[in-house]
């Protein structure tokens, strides 16, 4: 059927995925340490249009070598005659697809909570968390003290220190001080240092839910350059106004794609029902 029908349809699907991502950003507008996702789309590889059985040309249209030559011409930006019975007219785009859902790691706004165990990271870095599935990373510094006296996340998973162990807090909470480098002191006694892991590769961490990031195979945590702020929480970096604009933009693009689709359908209607009337 008409190629344009499918082109318009992939456009609609792309906008649908974009809208899903925006909905997730909006749902997490109040999630501590949440980093927004941005959908990046790209054009499908364009195809070559050939004029085949050109009487002035001779050759086999299935000659792959000639198609390669044509492609090379195309890459140079010229329209080529392959001399094989198929003159290349030019390229045709086939719509857009999602190339990437990128995590935008901008700093989120800070909120003062007055809670001594709330920690925010300014700059680079993640807290390392011990979960039953292995070490995970998070920017959510909403920590508690567990019944066993350990520093834990809201899901009761231990926050790790620089030597990979849990951090034990004494019964008296009054004087717990956490320095910018993660050093914890209580009543003047040192309790270790909170691990702050950094990753040079942005593909090293995958979102896992529960505010956790899962390290990928080969991910190598290094000492991060960020610093810790005690008594603060990093909020979500989602900007509602921006997401709303994107939502409107998506909606209108979707609408325009649908118009392209219905227009082509009317053309088909004409071709089938009017032209083909017997």
């Amino acid at each position: 059927m008409l190629r344009g029908l499918y082109t318009a349809a992939v456009g609609m699907i792309t906008e649908q995925i974009r809208t899903n991502t925006i909905a997730n950003n909006l749902a997490n507008v109040n999630t501590n340490g949440y980093k927004k996702d941005e959908t990046i789309s790209e054009e499908f590889q364009s195809v070559l249009l050939h004029r085949i059985n050109d009487s002035t040309q001779k050759g086999n249209i299935f000659d792959l070598q000639n198609i390669d030559t044509a492609r090379n011409y195309l890459l140079k930006g010229t329209v080529a005659d392959t001399g094989s019975g198929e003159a290349v007219i030019g390229s045709l785009g086939r719509g857009a697809k999602i190339a990437e859902i990128a995590v935008i790691r901008d700093q989120g706004p800070m909120e003062n909570t007055g809670n001594k165990l709330d920690l925010a990271i300014t700059g680079q870095g993640y807290f390392a968390i011990n979960t039953p599935q292995g070490v995970r990373y998070t920017r959510d510094g909403n920590f508690y003290r567990s019944a066993a006296g350990q520093l834990v996340t809201a899901n009761n998973q231990a926050v790790l220190n620089t030597s990979g162990g849990a951090i034990n807090l004494p019964a008296n909470t009054d004087n717990i001080a956490i320095g910018a480098d993660g050093t914890i002191t209580a009543n003047g006694n040192s309790l270790g240092k909170i691990e702050l892991a950094g990753f040079s590769d942005r593909g090293a961490l995958l979102k896992e839910g529960d505010n956790l990031y899962r390290p990928q195979k080969g991910a190598n945590p290094q000492t991060a350059t960020g610093s810790i702020q005690q008594g603060w929480l990093e909020k979500s970096n989602v900007n509602v106004a921006r997401e709303m604009v994107k939502l409107i933009n998506n909606y209108r693009t979707y609408e325009a794609d649908s118009k392209a689709l219905t227009t082509q359908d009317s053309l088909l209607d004409k071709a089938v029902n009017d032209v083909g009337r017997v």
Partner: protein, 264 residues
């Protein structure tokens, strides 16, 4: 159907829970010894559409992942045990704990409840009891012959009263306070009472002023630590977040309508 519909719905649900927490804080803005709560959220699971490192061509790999999220959920309602403001009452049996700690009271079923509400009264047997009649633990009884305006409570929790006709006060009891390793893990029972849980740890009983326990101040009450301005800001944030999620739903719905109208 569109995933965005369900994703945005989880956003609306979490903001609704946020509003529940905020309205409870506002309802308790004048509750003695009330400790405010704060709703905390987490993102839900992610669907990995493409792994990073997957092959993208003969000699190339995708450097980044493609992940689609499914919304948000409530992860915790964190109770904030900061000190509330003080209010002078000039009532001899009102007291507040300045610092960490809870009063222990005996509940009707014999279990121990914990409270920061120090508005104690004398019952018919002249025991110190809460507004609901739950006696302090250990029990403190003011002698019949000692007028209630002679009751003195020291910062270390010693209660004394002067019998009629006598010149020197007599010690009639000792108030102890308890602390918890993790007060955020206490379970609120209403009526300003908390119960211990596995998460809070066992109570650590101590004399006021010792081992980091707070001191007792007579004639004052600890008010709620809810800050109305903060709660109002939280409410605006929750409302706008709810609204923007509803916009995501109506937009997705409109898109579905367009899709449905493609077939004429």
């Amino acid at each position: 159907m569109m995933r965005a519909l369900w994703t945005a719905a989880t956003g609306m649900t979490t903001q609704q829970q946020n509003m529940d927490v905020i309205s409870n804080n506002l309802a308790n803005v004048n509750t003695t010894g009330y400790k405010k709560q704060r709703a905390e959220f987490q993102d839900l699971m992610y669907q990995t559409l493409r792994q990073p490192g997957a092959t993208s061509g003969p000699n190339t790999i995708y450097p980044s992942a493609m992940q689609a999220g499914h919304g948000a959920k409530l992860s915790a309602t964190n109770r904030i045990f900061t000190q509330g403001s003080y209010q002078s009452t000039d009532n001899k049996t009102d007291m507040m704990i300045d610092g960490d700690g809870f009063f222990q009271v005996t509940m009707p079923d014999g279990t121990i409840g914990y409270t920061r509400d120090g508005s104690f009264k004398l019952d018919e047997t002249r025991r110190l009891v809460t507004s609901d009649g739950y006696p302090l633990e250990p029990e403190i009884t003011i002698p019949e012959d000692a007028p209630s305006d002679t009751i003195t409570i020291g910062s270390d929790g010693t209660v004394s009263a002067t019998p009629a006709g006598a010149d020197t006060p007599e010690e009639v009891g000792q108030i102890t306070v308890v602390r918890f390793v993790n007060p955020a893990g206490l379970s609120a029972q209403g009526k300003n009472i908390f119960y211990q849980t596995n998460a809070s740890g066992d109570p650590i009983e101590s004399t006021p002023g010792e081992d980091g326990a707070g001191t007792i101040t007579q004639g004052y009450l600890e008010m709620s630590n809810v800050q109305v301005a903060d709660e109002m800001v939280n409410m605006i944030v929750a409302q706008r977040a709810y609204e923007s999620n509803s916009k995501a739903i109506t937009t997705s719905d409109a898109m579905l309508e367009i899709a449905n109208n493609l077939k004429r």
